[in-house]
């Protein structure tokens, strides 16, 4: 196991900085996801970690030992790491068994020990019956598990995963997410996981680092990232959200247009009088048709909007509404349990708790 520290890490390609003064501390046995849209620098960060790329600035330390800097580069083969590639990179000329055994052979383990370890690992990823097959004869999911077994069997200090699930179909992808988390709980290897899929990051990670334009814009536990996004980018990238624009009155309230004041909660400091954004998750809004009930809630400190149902889509486990707020000239997206049903055209009151109306920065 190992701790991994990235300090001021920078990598430029031509004029563009793919990774820009990035700082990150990863604890021993921790599972951290680098989450972001394509081109945000997450894969470059991973390849810097692996030692396939040399940074132009900053440094990487593993267990306090310097492994990468503009002047130092420990080659990948001496880093005690494993990596799972987006393309799996399963060697087509070796059987499943040979693929998994390869890393152990490099470590010069005895044949009997190799066989034992490989067989145990193949059972773990449920490939023991396919040990003699060539990769060309396996499905995508099976190949992915070969890559996983090959990376884990060497008991690496650090495990790097580069979008390992992006080539799988939806069902398998969901299954493999839990599989990866389960294996992590079993081995507790320090893991860095690159993905653009927020659900994957949520399921697998201890902490998520949301990346944008080569930098980490927010780092935190999954709930923290989801419930308390710091910026509009994070709020919109992770999950569905309503973004309302207003002026900051004081640290607890925001004026939307037409006299409506919104009680909010804030993660960071924002200057009074500035334009700000408020993030409200669709499932944190409740609807009611009763004016009395709405007034009651408002007096208890809830934020109250009045509007008209414009559209309803039934999803089985929920109804997805669009509520028009005519006074603010806004649309509010609301995800409500299917028990109550409101029809388009109906007048409606929408309620949101100030704790769940989060002030976010522009960037």
């Amino acid at each position: 196991m190992a701790t991994v520290t990235l300090k001021g890490l920078t990598k430029t390609f031509g004029d563009a900085a793919a990774v820009d003064r990035l700082d990150l501390d990863i604890g021993d046995g921790e599972f951290v996801s680098l989450l972001g849209p394509s081109g945000c620098g997450k894969t470059t960060t991973l390849r810097l970690l692996a030692g396939f790329l040399q940074p132009d600035g900053g440094e990487i330390r593993v267990d306090e030992k310097l492994v990468s800097s503009p002047t130092v580069l420990i080659p990948p083969e001496r880093r005690q790491m494993s990596m799972i590639f987006q393309s799996y990179a399963v060697w087509p000329h070796m059987t499943v068994f040979q693929n998994v055994a390869y890393g152990l052979k490099l470590k010069k383990l005895a044949g009997g020990e190799i066989a034992k370890k490989v067989e145990r690992m193949l059972r773990l990823v449920r490939l023991d019956t396919l040990a003699g097959r060539y990769p060309g004869e396996l499905s995508g999911g099976q190949q992915q598990r070969v890559a996983l077994a090959r990376a884990l069997v060497v008991e690496p200090q650090t495990l790097l995963l580069d979008e390992p699930l992006s080539n799988l179909d939806a069902n398998l992808r969901e299954e493999m997410r839990f599989e990866i988390r389960r294996l992590h709980e079993e081995f507790r290897i320090t893991t860095v996981y690159v993905t653009h899929d927020q659900a994957e990051a949520m399921v697998t990670s201890d902490r998520i680092a949301v990346m944008h334009q080569g930098r980490i814009v927010q780092l935190g536990a999954p709930e923290e990232i989801f419930d308390r996004p710091k910026t509009r980018f994070v709020a919109e990238f992770i999950g569905k959200t309503n973004i309302l624009r207003g002026k900051l009155e004081d640290s607890r309230s925001v004026a939307l247009g037409d006299g409506l004041k919104l009680g909010v909660t804030s993660a960071g400091a924002h200057a009074r009088g500035n334009d700000v954004y408020v993030c409200i998750r669709p499932h944190n809004v409740t609807l009611t048709a009763s004016a009395a009930e709405a007034e009651e809630a408002r007096r208890n400190g809830m934020n109250l909007f009045s509007g008209i149902i414009r559209r309803r889509v039934y999803f089985g486990d929920a109804n997805d509404y669009i509520v028009e707020l005519p006074e603010q000239r806004l649309n509010l997206r609301v995800l409500a349990p299917p028990a109550h049903k409101y029809e388009p055209g109906q007048k409606i009151f929408a309620l949101a708790h100030p704790e769940q109306c989060v002030l976010v920065g522009e960037e």
Binding site: M83, M94, V154
Partner: protein
């Protein structure tokens, strides 16, 4: 089920192809087993006990082996350089390798005769002038000379195989070993080499088979020195008095060797295959050659001078000069060779007409047939469609001269007395070029989703109509490519033509062979340049067309 009115078309095409292949091959086996007295093994006995004949076989094996070795060394080096390193001018290098590929080997052999013949060869003249010595530096009329020239025109096969594989192997495969603890050498030894090994071995086999089946080069460079190979020996059996039975018996081992080696090649790939395993995101890094960049480029240029620049240069010089071995001064400059070849000499004029007539006929009929057949096998229209593709591809493993022996025997007597007309050449070319046309159309059809046709049929078009209105227009550039490949294959064909021509049905390649005996160097050079110019014009227009279609995004 209702009778499908298009069914006879499919069955007809399939049967035609099966017959096209079975008739010549069957004829060879049957006549190899008969003499005037009846059934016998005497032909085989005679062929395989006579020392002269055994020597020819041995020569073929030795020459082909070394051609294979050299072709693999040169082809894989070049293939690797253009795909995995930062070698400059890669596109130009690829284009020039393509030019070596398009150059008919007999033309290359002829050019090298002018360059490195011991008496008048240009390089030897230069050497004598520079050193004052009166001996020759090179003698191309030797086994070594033959190996050299044949390797020059076999390495492009290995090149394209290696380049393809190198493009399929992503850097990820090497990185994966790297991060598990393998250093550079270990990666090369355990990952890169094993991944390319099947292609290297297949490349060797293809180059070996290619040189085994060549007739022109050994005839031009070997026969003057009394060196016989299997193909020239088969040709010799056809000279007066013709011994068809011996030719047939001599063809059988060549055929079996070819089939055997192809089987080995298939087996080697086995279950592994390098079809890209896994998914997207695989990337390739280019190796930085550093200070080796310029030396590598110079080496590549040197190799390409041997296969392209020097031969093309000497052909151009010979075409433009009155006396080809003299310096190209104003006195020596002439267009006479062109007017002689195109307008004055009846043999060359007739041959040009015949060649292009046959080229157009065969390419058109071949594309049509290949389209039907590829359609049948691709859409599984008939039970046993797989076997149809086996028959269509069979000529790939039949050396041209062996095919000609079979065709000669099959079509020289009633009811199919085609010999003496250009139609026997047509049948020979059609048979020989069908695999190329078929592979091209097959891969084109693979990219066209059957649902596009289904959408036509559901609104009332039958299969043939759907093929005509939807599939063929979509496959247009693929079909044009198929037509062009067949056409180029036909106009350069020598090894089958040399047995099947008659004085009324000579083609360019045969006339080049004849003119050599007459010493008409200028006319040969003109004809050679004509072949090259037409081939390149066609290839460039196909590329232009394909590029345009690609940008238009018409492939969905």
């Amino acid at each position: 089920m209702r009778f499908d009115p298009t069914l006879p078309v499919w069955i007809g095409a399939a049967l035609f192809v099966v017959l096209l292949m079975l008739l010549p091959l069957g004829s060879i086996f049957i006549s190899s087993l008969y003499d005037e007295k009846g059934l016998t093994l005497g032909n085989y006995l005679q062929v395989f006990t006579d020392n002269a004949y055994l020597k020819a076989i041995w020569n073929s094996v030795i020459i082909s082996f070394w051609v294979g070795v050299i072709a693999v060394a040169v082809g894989s080096l070049l293939g690797w350089l253009v795909t995995r390193t930062d070698l400059p001018f890669k596109r130009a290098v690829r284009a020039l390798v393509m030019a070596s590929f398009v150059t008919p080997p007999f033309l290359g052999a002829f050019a090298w005769m002018l360059l490195a013949g011991p008496n008048a060869g240009l390089l030897n003249n230069w050497y004598r002038a520079a050193s004052g010595s009166d001996t020759a530096l090179f003698n191309i009329f030797t086994i070594e000379g033959l190996i050299f020239v044949m390797a020059l025109y076999s390495f492009p096969y290995v090149f394209s195989m290696i380049a393809n594989v190198c493009e399929l192997i992503s850097s990820d495969l090497e990185d994966a070993a790297n991060i598990l603890g393998a250093n550079r050498w270990k990666i090369a030894l355990t990952i890169t080499l094993p991944l390319t090994a099947p292609a290297l071995i297949s490349g060797f086999i293809v180059a070996f088979l290619h040189s085994l089946s060549l007739f022109g080069a050994p005839a031009i460079l070997g026969l003057p020195a009394g060196i016989h190979t299997i193909t020239t020996q088969i040709w010799a059996f056809f000279q007066y008095p013709p011994r068809l039975d011996l030719a047939a018996a001599f063809s059988v081992p060549l055929l079996l060797a070819t089939v055997g080696l192809i089987a080995v090649q298939k087996k080697l790939l086995g279950r592994r295959g390098y079809s890209t395993v896994g998914g997207k995101g695989a990337q390739k890094r280019l190796l930085k050659l550093g200070y080796l960049r310029i030396p590598a480029l110079l080496l590549v240029i040197a190799i390409l001078s041997l296969s392209v620049f020097l031969p093309y240069g000497i052909l151009l010089k010979a075409a433009l000069s009155k006396a080809w071995a003299m310096p190209l001064t104003l006195d020596n400059l002439t267009l006479g060779n062109f007017s002689f070849t195109f307008f004055e000499y009846s043999d060359t004029r007739a041959a040009i007409v015949n060649t292009f007539k046959l080229g157009i006929l065969t390419a058109t009929a071949g594309t049509l047939l290949a389209t039907l057949l590829a359609y049948i096998t691709n859409r599984q229209l008939l039970r046993g469609a797989r076997y149809v593709s086996f028959f269509v591809l069979a000529p790939l493993v039949i050396p041209g001269i062996v095919l000609a022996v079979g065709l000669f025997i099959a079509y020289s007597r009633p009811p199919l007395a085609l010999y003496g007309t250009i139609w026997i050449l047509f049948v020979a070319y059609l048979t020989k070029e069908l695999p190329i046309g078929y592979s091209q159309t097959e891969s084109t059809f693979k990219t066209i989703h059957p649902e596009l046709e289904d959408a036509t049929r559901i609104i009332g078009a039958n299969r043939l109509r759907a093929l005509k209105d939807v599939t063929v227009p979509l496959a247009r550039s693929g079909l044009i490519a198929a037509w062009s490949f067949i056409f180029i294959g036909v106009i350069r064909e020598l090894s089958a033509s040399i047995l099947l021509f008659t004085p009324q049905s000579k083609v360019i390649s045969v006339v080049i062979f004849d003119l050599k005996e007459e010493g008409q160097i200028g006319a040969i050079a003109v004809l050679g340049l004509l072949l090259l110019a037409v081939s390149f014009a066609i290839i460039l227009s196909v590329q232009w067309l394909a590029g345009r279609e690609f940008f238009a995004g018409s492939r969905g």
